[in-house]
Subunit: 355 residues, 2 copies
């Protein structure tokens, strides 16, 4: 709990002066004001975070947090739990979707085991942060203890700290792997938002109509049974969350505390980010929403966090895939601020009437 | 007219067999089916066009077509016409927005003078395809003659042919520069769609309310006065178009005739693409829509062309900036098809129930 509290306390707002300078330079570039839309907003935020107008996102890292879920026994996923383990090996071998997309974006993927139901050998190159081999079934009781919830968030913070002991990190991306984890994520959104579970629950990896109805019932049952306190984010995480979701919350807090921009992936990563920002609202300043997933409920979280998703490509995979693709756009955003010339630099008189 | 006819006649459909193979491989990759959304659709189309599952978009070129517009005398733009000329020099010097964004996407920018009101020296490294030094004021009569319209389209085709004589082109992007050119573009959409001018006309580079009303009046006047025949795309281009818009139509036709995927930029490029596809519907198979501009009317064209825009970043600059940014995503799309492993390749049993 001490690490968590210290981390939350150490989150500061980005550099307002550099942010304002960035906006001024963008407005003075040889093009109609505002015409690069969201790219301008992104570039100014990144400048404020980095404290410079020439932001270099050289070392980009995606951390994919993995965990298993007791709720899978309720039939909420098309895939069996052991796919979580198999995908961890797939990530380590570099053949998964997030590896391909990260490679293209010039980012590296690290995997973190927060609670996978498998005994990985200690020399497997992943962050070994297992809390327990899968959560308890949240439809039958709390997913984890309060202590485990704190431990999972602190594990995420530790991952950031361990990365930073080895290297400078210019941008962090979050990703998830955990069969069944759209169920706790939807439950978390329902808990914080008060929106009906039916409206927030999606098909995950591709449930049919009947299985979707069953998933909705499971989430409702979990909420009624556990009655999480939405004013206590750790209670929400403990009762209806997941170990990797706690880890994802910790990544956001750790990034914010170290002034690293953090781009969060789809539904599960955003649920983690939501818990982080409920614990520490200032973390929002460091957060970027990679894409709008097709999963219902994702939009609520973006609105709640005040974030405009960068992409809307109907993706719904997780792993950090959306974070990886959006890093290409965030990279572009840094370039427009640094490289597009101003009117005076190109000797074109600014004739624009701003009325 | 002979070149135009020959080009239209030579456009063939992409390779259906490779397209189907691409879809089959995507469906068999170690991830839930369809979860990479639009990226999958893009990658399959690119494979069909290239005739291979391992599409390499190595040589990407953006051609920015420039031209001036007599209608500027009606006060439809905040900028004076001579900014078109100045921006041509800015492009050539590499300091404009499109240069920066293209550089990041690994693309090169070529500029084409289709009708700029300036005598560029012959050694300026642009495509010298000037039809005339600016169109006539379409609010007072036809913007150009029918012959000039054909000539402008053929100039665009020639640019593709001249590029191909020197090098292989893996992807072509279109871009525009022409002060006042949202006016002919909106007029073209109104003409083809029959939608009210009020609904289709936007603020261009940033018109105020009064100037917007005046722009709408100008477009209405142009449509009434010239009465373009929407079943005759060359008539539409001639009466209410622009030289660079003709050039942009020619780029699309030239790319399609040479089996090159072509990604079109914002409102003006899409107006050019619309004319190309009205002349040769098969050209649509080679066309990609880079982004949804904030300009009203852009959505109509995308729907009409059956294209889903790749990005929605509230951009409204032109130059080829949207094409450049979307090339990053198109590049990613080629990698997912080629590099993500299938279930059998990673030895994970495909347990997905596709119900």
């Amino acid at each position: 709990m001490k690490k968590l509290k210290q981390t939350i306390d150490s989150i500061k707002h980005p550099d307002r002066e550099v942010y304002e300078k960035a906006l001024a330079r963008l407005a003075d570039q040889a093009r109609p004001a505002g015409c690069l839309g969201e790219l301008e907003a992104l570039s100014a935020r990144l400048a404020g975070i980095a404290g410079t107008l020439d932001v270099q996102l050289k070392n980009k890292i995606i951390v994919t947090c993995a965990g298993d879920h007791g709720v899978v026994e309720e039939g909420v996923s098309l895939f069996p739990s052991d796919v979580t383990t198999q995908m961890v090996f797939n990530f380590v071998n570099g053949g998964a979707s997030v590896n391909v997309l990260a490679r293209h974006a010039g980012a590296r993927v690290f995997v973190a085991d927060l609670g996978v139901n498998y005994d990985f050998k200690p020399d497997l190159p992943v962050f070994h942060k297992k809390i327990r081999k899968g959560t308890s079934n949240l439809a039958k009781g709390p997913a984890m203890t309060r202590e485990e919830a704190v431990q999972s968030i602190e594990a995420g913070i530790e991952i950031v700290e361990e990365l930073l002991r080895k290297e400078r990190v210019d941008m962090l991306g979050t990703g998830d792997m955990g069969i069944g984890n759209t169920t706790p994520s939807s439950a978390i959104i329902a808990s914080f938002s008060g929106i009906a579970v039916e409206k927030l629950t999606g098909r995950g990896t591709g449930l049919g109509d009947k299985a979707l109805q069953s998933k909705i019932k499971t989430i409702k049952k979990a909420l009624e049974l556990n009655n999480p306190d939405k004013n206590d984010p750790i209670d929400v995480l403990a009762k209806i969350g997941g170990f990797e979701i706690g880890g994802l919350a910790g990544l956001v807090l750790g990034a914010a505390a170290n002034s690293i921009p953090v781009v969060c992936d789809g539904l599960i990563s955003t649920a983690g980010a939501l818990i982080a920002c409920e614990l520490a609202p200032a973390a929002k300043d460091y957060l970027f929403a990679s894409h709008r997933s097709v999963e219902a409920g994702h939009k609520f979280m973006h609105d709640h966090l005040g974030l405009e998703p960068i992409l809307d490509l109907k993706m719904r995979l997780g792993e950090g895939t959306g974070a990886a693709v959006s890093m290409e756009i965030l990279d572009v955003a840094t370039r427009i601020l640094a490289e597009i010339k101003t009117w005076s630099e190109v000797n074109i008189k600014d004739v624009q009437n701003k009325s």
